[in-house]
Amino acid sequence: MVHRREVNGQPIVLGNQGDLWGNAMTWFDHETGSVWSQPIGEAIMGPLTGTRLELLPSSLTKWGDWVELHPDTVALDAPARINGFELEQMAIVVEFGPDSLAFPATDVRAAGVANADIGGVAVAVTVDDANDTWSVFSRQVDGRTVELQRSGDQLEATDGSGTWTADRGVQVSGTGGNLDVLPGFTSFPADYTTFFPGGGFWQPSGIVPVDGS
C-alpha cells in the first residue's frame, strides 16, 4: 500500500509500531506517537486517533511489465527476491470515502473483469491469468461511464467506444486515452471483514454484504 504521509498539509514520519491489529501491521508517527492501522490508514490510538491518510494509486505488478510501461522508472536500491505471495488466496480491496468492496482474486479472474460502483466511483478490477497481478481502473472515459467486458487480453467497452489492455489499461482503439489507475490493495478476505464490517464482497452475481444483511 502507498499512502500520502501528510496530516493537515504537513508531512509526518511514520515508523513500525510492531504490534498487530486484526493480524495487520501498525505504525507510529514520530510527531505524536499515535498508533496507526495499515489496512485503513487511520490512527487508532493516541492524539491523532481518527485521522486518515490518503491512499495513493499504485500497482502490484512484475518488474518486467513495469519497465515496459515505464522505461524511465527507477528501482529502489535493494535486493529483490521472488516470494511466496499468492494472490489467489486474497481479495483486492477498493475504497472510496465510507464505501468499500473486496474483489476475491479468483472470482475476478474467472469473470475476466469486475465492474462495480464504490462511493459513486465507477471502477473495473482485473487480475491476470496467472493470478499474479491486479489493476483497478476508472470506468470514466471522456466524461462518460463505460461498462467493460473482457476479450482475451483486452477490455472493451460494451458500447463499442474503445478497447484497452486488460493489464495496464493502455488504449488500443477508440478515444479518451488510457484508463486511469485507481488505488486498491490486497487483503486476506478475513482481514477485510474485520476492518470493513460495513463493506461487501463483489461476486459475479452481485454484492454480498460483510454483515450478512
Partner: protein, 152 residues
C-alpha cells in the same frame, strides 16, 4: 519541515537498543561450565543507499530514524486498545527504510518476474520490490515533492 539527515539516519537508534536485549539461555556443557549467551536484537539494515550508483530522484536525503526518546506510546501509556490489538515487537524492531535510494533500470538486476509495487507521480515512476518489502515492511519516501509511505 521534516528533519533531514544523511545515511547515518539508517543507523539504529542506540538509546532504544536496550529494549531489545533478550536473554537466550543456551546451555552448553563446555569444560564443565554452563555458558550463557546474550543475544542482542539487531535489526536487518541491509539495503538501500549501499551502492555507488544509487541516488534519490528528488535529491532527497531522507528523514531521521531517531524519534524522541520520550515519544508518547499509547500502548505503554495504557490507552485502551481496540479489540484484537496485540503487542508484538518493539517500535522499529523491523527497521523501516528512512533514507531510500534508487537505481536506474540499467543498474538493476532483478528478474523480470519479480513482484514490485509500482508508483508513478507526474511521470516519475518508482518500483519497490515486494521481496524486499516483506523483510523491511516500510519505505518512507518523497516522490516529486509528495511525502509518500510504502508499506507491506
Amino acid at each position: 519541515m521534516e528533519p533531514t539527515s544523511t545515511h547515518q539516519a539508517d543507523q539504529y537508534p542506540t538509546e532504544r537498543s536496550s529494549r531489545f536485549l533478550s536473554l537466550a539461555t543456551v546451555s552448553a556443557l563446555l569444560a564443565g561450565l554452563a555458558v550463557i549467551a546474550v543475544v542482542v536484537f539487531v535489526p536487518d539494515q541491509s539495503g538501500p543507499g549501499s551502492s555507488d550508483d544509487s541516488f534519490h530522484p528528488d535529491g532527497w536525503e531522507g528523514v531521521s530514524a531517531n524519534f524522541a526518546s520520550d515519544l508518547y506510546d499509547p500502548v505503554s501509556a495504557g490507552e485502551p486498545a481496540p479489540a484484537g490489538y496485540r503487542p508484538s515487537i518493539p517500535r522499529d524492531g523491523i527497521f523501516p527504510v528512512y533514507t531510500p535510494e534508487f537505481r536506474t533500470v540499467e543498474n538493476t538486476d532483478w528478474p523480470s518476474d519479480e513482484l514490485i509495487i509500482g508508483v508513478e507521480i507526474d511521470g516519475d515512476a518508482r518500483a519497490y520490490p515486494v521481496g524486499f518489502l516483506i523483510r523491511r515492511e516500510i519505505v518512507v519516501d518523497m516522490h516529486r515533492g509528495i511525502p509518500t509511505f510504502v508499506s507491506w
